[in-house]
Symmetry: C2
Subunit: 108 residues, 2 copies
DNA sequence: TATATTTGCAACCAAATAGTAGCAAGTAAG
DNA sequence: CTTACTTGCTACTATTTGGTTGCAAATATA
């Protein structure tokens, strides 16, 4: 088993997905984030550490506080992976489009 | 920590993503799948078990063989989750569109 | 019937993960 | 300067995960 540290690992945990949802809107400190969960500040800090290692978050130091915000670029990687499969569930729609296209050409 | 068994857990492992990639095209047996990897058949079977529990794959029994194929519906869940964030990386593009739109109106 | 193939399941092991507690460093406020 | 606050880091523990081995059940083939 190798150590995996990528965006797919980052979004596997529901707490981390919740953190992503929060810092997508505004930058937040670990203390602020911890207040939104039932778990301890240290636990949230460890989740943040994973997100930082996966480059899912950007950090900005302001005095003794550290603000974390979502880095959207890594989210694109998931989108690009999904792209390969998207055609599979859009197939029916594409087929419908083909039908419409054929109807158009018939009119000519 | 609770036991998580959802699509995000399913796609966290690179081997499982590879399996998904293979069974998206054609249905395959565990034996066929194992031939594509360096790991044992049992290891692949355990990955398949996870995918089944997450309802990412459909199975069809044919004699003593079991064919597994991708169930695309669960993949949509990831796409729906991403949908909330997609606007964030399309923002710049939208702004560019706005610029182009303004140029158009200026011409009038 | 006897044998080989395909598969799932249970037991077990090593590594990773999630969480807690304590501590040190840096910063703000008295 | 002293005290309080915010944070990251290092053990330490419990749980989960990925993998291997062995075995039994079901199916195909001789």
């Amino acid at each position: 088993m190798e150590t995996r540290r990528d965006i797919f690992q980052a979004i596997a945990d529901p707490t981390r997905r919740a953190i992503i949802g929060l810092i997508a809107i505004t930058a937040m400190t670990p203390g602020d984030l911890a207040a939104h969960f039932n778990t301890s500040r240290q636990a949230i800090s460890k989740h943040i550490k994973v997100l930082v290692e996966c480059e899912v978050v950007k950090q900005e130091v302001s005095g003794r506080e550290i603000f974390y915000q979502l880095d959207i670029n890594k989210m694109k990687e998931v989108d690009e992976w999904l792209e390969k499969y998207r055609c599979l569930w859009e197939k029916r729609f594409d087929q419908l489009e083909n039908v419409l296209e054929k109807l158009k050409t018939k009119k000519k």
